[in-house]
Amino acid sequence: MGIVLSNIIAIYRRELQSYFVSPLAYAIAGIFWFITGLFFVMILLGPDGILPAVATIDLQAQQGVPIPPIDVPYEFIRAFLDRMGWLLLFILPILSMGLYAEERKRGTLELLATSPITNWAVALGKLLGVLTFFTTMVVPMLVFEAIAISGSNPPMSPSIPLLAHLGLILLAAAILSIGMFISSLTDSTILSAVLTFAVILLLLLIDLIAKIVPAPVGEALGYLSLLKHYNTLIQGIFDSSSLILFASYIFLGIFLTAQSIDALRFQRQ
């Protein structure tokens, strides 16, 4: 057990280290921060933003129209993380595309495959590595949120942002896990990114497809939707079925990756 853990940590550290010396990773982080900053401003101050809307409501309230109060920080967190979910669709395939495709191209997969280390330990270490990189990308965003939440009166329950961010990390882990599997199927990073993008788009939109499909199948399909479960969590609603769904995606990704690496060795020409 200790050996397995040590192996996972070795893979994890190598993977993480490779992001921190990669210009591509910094470019992605930069773009990510720029866009999230844009979101922050747009959501609060943009034409359809929350603050102008609140100003209108205030005006109406002064004129005596009874309107329920609006919780600005809560609305902000929800709207902010909702857009983030869509941003992940573009960012994460680029982070996951090289996980295995690069190893295949460089021939280092041959090193991993001939070392006393199991396929799933490699997959788990890699997933944890890329997830950690993503999490560090998210940390600066907390500044935006802190600004918004600090204005909250009465103070917001900490469980709401906590759950919302757990949702964000879980969504990212699910997407990265699927992306990792797709990356293990090819030695072209571009192909891996494009395929991952398509598959994740499908999993995000499966909700819409489910509405067209008749009841039992449609309902089942709807349950698979990543976005639906993500939305539940970012509203601060704790739903164990959402957690299980994300966990299933993550597990499935790792499992399929380990299998595909095994299969690769059997059919290799």
Partner: protein, 330 residues
């Protein structure tokens, strides 16, 4: 230490290797010699546990490479055709990583990494990013990677390919220094390489092992002495002794019965190949000596050097390299 028995690998319907059998004793350096595409890489990949064999089995240190894959992987170092390197790591960092996934304990790791770096002459490059290394240094890091955990068996696929003459000499010396304490299999398509580094050679062509011998004997076979194939009734070992004493005979060896085409081999018969010294024709003496010694002679025929077609495809000359060696000697 390494036993390979009747190993076959078939891709789709094309066989890559067929019925490959050889063994390597502890501390021995075995060269797999053959032209490109002969099946050397496939054989090595199976031994390293990277590919499963279609048929047959291979054992390293007593463990089956397929059934006990993890146990085998702990005991081998493997350098594939292209050294498996992470370009964004430093030499030192990479070797630490490899030592770790090979299961070297934390307390031992630094010592082993330092030893591997020293052994491969990488001291002045240990903090350099691998991307910035020249091809020769990368190859050395590849070898360091294969020996960092001090494995009993080392598998090196074309360890000198693409290196300049000086680097080739260094790598060969390194491999020789590893022999004795490690069991090594290396592949090459360069004929002089095996005579310089290996204790024994297995020649592989079109997926089959066509000869296994010491480099000296193979050289004799190669450099044009004609040969005879003999079928006799009687003890093979005894016949060998008798034949060896005939003037003009340089080598006597058993022919693997699997290689006989003419008819079914019979249990009480011995099948031998006699290689004569260049320019000598001991055929007549062979016949009389055998008959006098009481062996029933069933067949004696002259054959051309059987390895000729293999060697034609091998690189037999290393002119530029010899020039360097001579330069150093002078």
């Amino acid at each position: 230490m390494i036993e390979v028995e009747h190993l076959s690998k078939i891709y789709g319907s094309t066989p890559a290797i067929t019925d490959v059998t050889f063994s390597v004793e502890p501390g021995e350096i075995l060269g797999l010699l053959g032209p490109n595409g002969a099946g050397k890489t496939t054989t090595m990949r199976i031994l390293a546990g990277y590919l499963p064999a279609t048929n047959g089995n291979a054992r390293i240190a007593g463990y089956d490479v397929h059934e006990n894959s993890l146990a085998v992987r702990q005991r081998i170092g493997y350098l594939p055709e292209t050294p498996p390197l992470y370009p964004d790591m430093t030499v030192e960092g990479f070797l630490h990583f490899v030592a770790r996934i090979k299961g070297v304990s934390a307390g031992d790791r630094t010592n082993k990494v330092v030893a591997a770096i020293k052994r491969c002459n990488l001291e002045d490059k240990q903090r350099v990013i691998i991307r910035k290394l020249s091809k020769g240094y990368r190859q050395r890091v590849g070898i360091a990677q294969a020996i960092v955990h001090d494995p009993p068996a080392i598998i090196l696929d074309e360890p000198t390919v693409g290196l300049d003459p000086r680097q080739i000499i260094e790598v060969r010396n390194l491999i020789k220094s590893l022999g004795g304490t490690h069991t090594i299999i290396l592949s090459t398509h360069i004929l002089p390489e095996v005579s310089m580094t290996c204790n024994r050679v297995a020649i592989i062509n079109r997926g089959k092992v066509v000869a296994t011998n010491t480099p000296e004997n193979l050289m004799t076979q190669l450099t044009g002495g004609s040969g005879y194939e003999i079928e006799i009734e009687g003890e093979a070992a005894l016949a060998k002794q008798v034949l060896q004493n005939i003037a003009g005979v340089s080598l006597v060896e058993s022919i693997p019965t699997a290689g006989m085409h003419t008819h079914q081999p019979q249990a009480d018969r011995a099948y031998l190949r006699v290689i004569s010294q260049p320019g000598k024709e001991p055929g007549r003496d062979i016949a009389t000596t055998l008959v006098r010694a009481g062996f029933g002679l069933h067949e004696l025929r002259r054959v051309n050097a059987t390895l000729e077609d293999v060697f034609l495809q091998l690189t037999t000359e290393e002119k530029h390299l010899e020039a360097v060696t001579e330069g150093e000697a002078a």
